[in-house]
C-alpha cells in the first residue's frame, strides 16, 4: 500500500524564504501548498476543512494583509487542530509566547533546514 504523502501549508511572503523552504519540503518528500500572507492561508485551510486537511502548517510572522499571529488565531477559531509551527526570524521569548498564545504548537527560528523540518515532522508524528 502506498504511504499517503504529508500535506503541508507553507505561509511566507518573502520569495527567497519560500524558495528555500520549498526545496527543503521537496527534499523531505512532502506535498506543499503555499500562501503569501495570513489571509490566503486562512482561505486555503477553510477550503480543506474535513477531507484533505493539511497535516502541518508552517507560518511566518510578519506578512502583509494578515500576519502569522492573526492567521493562527483564525485557523484555531475554525476548530482546526492541524499542528501549526511558527517559522520566524524574530525568536525572542516574547515572540515565541505570542505565537503560542495565538494557538501555535511550536516555534522554529528561520531559516527552515532539513534538520529542523525533520524535528518538526518527528514531533508531530509525521515522519
Amino acid at each position: 500500500m502506498d504511504r499517503r504523502r504529508i500535506r503541508v501549508l507553507l505561509v511566507e511572503d518573502e520569495e527567497i524564504n519560500r524558495v528555500v523552504a520549498r526545496a527543503v519540503l521537496r527534499a523531505a518528500g512532502v506535498e506543499a501548498d503555499e500562501a503569501e500572507n495570513g489571509a490566503e492561508a486562512v482561505r486555503r485551510v477553510r477550503e480543506r476543512v474535513g477531507a484533505g486537511a493539511y497535516d502541518l502548517i508552517l507560518t511566518d510572522k510578519q506578512m502583509p494583509v494578515m500576519d502569522g499571529h492573526e492567521a493562527t488565531r483564525q485557523i484555531r477559531a475554525m476548530g482546526v487542530t492541524t499542528p501549526i509551527v511558527a517559522v520566524s526570524s524574530d525568536s525572542l521569548p516574547s515572540d515565541v509566547q505570542a505565537f503560542i498564545t495565538a494557538g501555535a504548537d511550536d516555534f522554529m527560528p528561520k531559516p527552515l533546514t532539513k534538520e529542523k523540518l525533520g524535528c518538526i515532522l518527528s514531533k508531530f508524528g509525521l515522519a
Binding site: E14, E15, I16, N17, V19, V20, A23, V24, A27, Q62, S89, D90, K110, P111, T113, K114
Partner: protein
C-alpha cells in the same frame, strides 16, 4: 581550457567567503538542496536573494531620507532583509542588519546610517564575489552550460 584549475579557483573563492565570514553554514544547507532535479538551485537562490535584497535596500534608502524619522518602518525593512540574509547564510550582511536594528531600537540615527552604509558595502562585496564564483563554475562546467542569469 584547464577546467580543473577553474574548479580549484572556484573552490578557493568559496572557501574565502566562508573564512572571511561572508557566508555561514546555511549556505552549505542551500548547496545540499541542489540535486539532479534542480542542478542550478544554488545560483537560482542567490539570484532571488540579490533581487530581493536590492529591492529592500532601495526601499530603505528612500525611507532613511524621509522626515520625520520612521524607526518602525526602518526596522520592518531591516527585519525582512535579515530574514533573507539568514536564508542563504549571508552572515556579515545579517550581522549589519542586527546592528542596524539595535540602533533603531535606541532611536540612534547616526548608528542606523553607519550600519546601513556598511550593509551596502557588504552587499556589494558579496554580490561581486558570488558572481565571480558562479562564473568560474560555469566556465569549469561541461560544454553547453546554461546561460547566465541576471543578478
Amino acid at each position: 581550457m584547464d577546467y580543473s584549475n577553474l574548479r580549484r579557483q572556484a573552490a578557493s573563492l568559496k572557501k574565502g567567503l566562508f573564512d572571511q565570514g561572508h557566508l555561514d553554514e546555511q549556505f552549505r544547507q542551500v548547496e545540499d538542496l541542489q540535486d539532479e532535479a534542480s542542478p542550478n538551485f544554488v545560483e537560482e537562490v542567490v539570484v532571488v536573494f540579490f533581487k530581493d535584497s536590492g529591492r529592500l535596500i532601495t526601499n530603505l534608502e528612500q525611507a532613511l531620507e524621509k522626515y520625520p524619522r520612521d524607526f518602525n518602518r526602518w526596522d520592518a525593512y531591516m527585519q525582512q532583509l535579515k530574514g533573507s540574509c539568514s536564508s542563504i547564510g549571508a552572515s556579515r550582511m545579517k550581522n549589519e542588519c542586527m546592528s542596524f536594528r539595535d540602533s533603531c531600537g535606541q532611536r540612534n540615527v547616526e548608528g542606523c546610517m553607519g550600519s546601513f552604509q556598511k550593509l551596502k558595502r557588504e552587499h556589494a562585496v558579496l554580490r561581486q564575489k558570488l558572481e565571480s564564483y558562479f562564473q568560474l563554475l560555469r566556465q569549469a562546467g561541461p560544454a553547453g552550460a546554461a546561460t547566465r542569469p541576471v543578478m
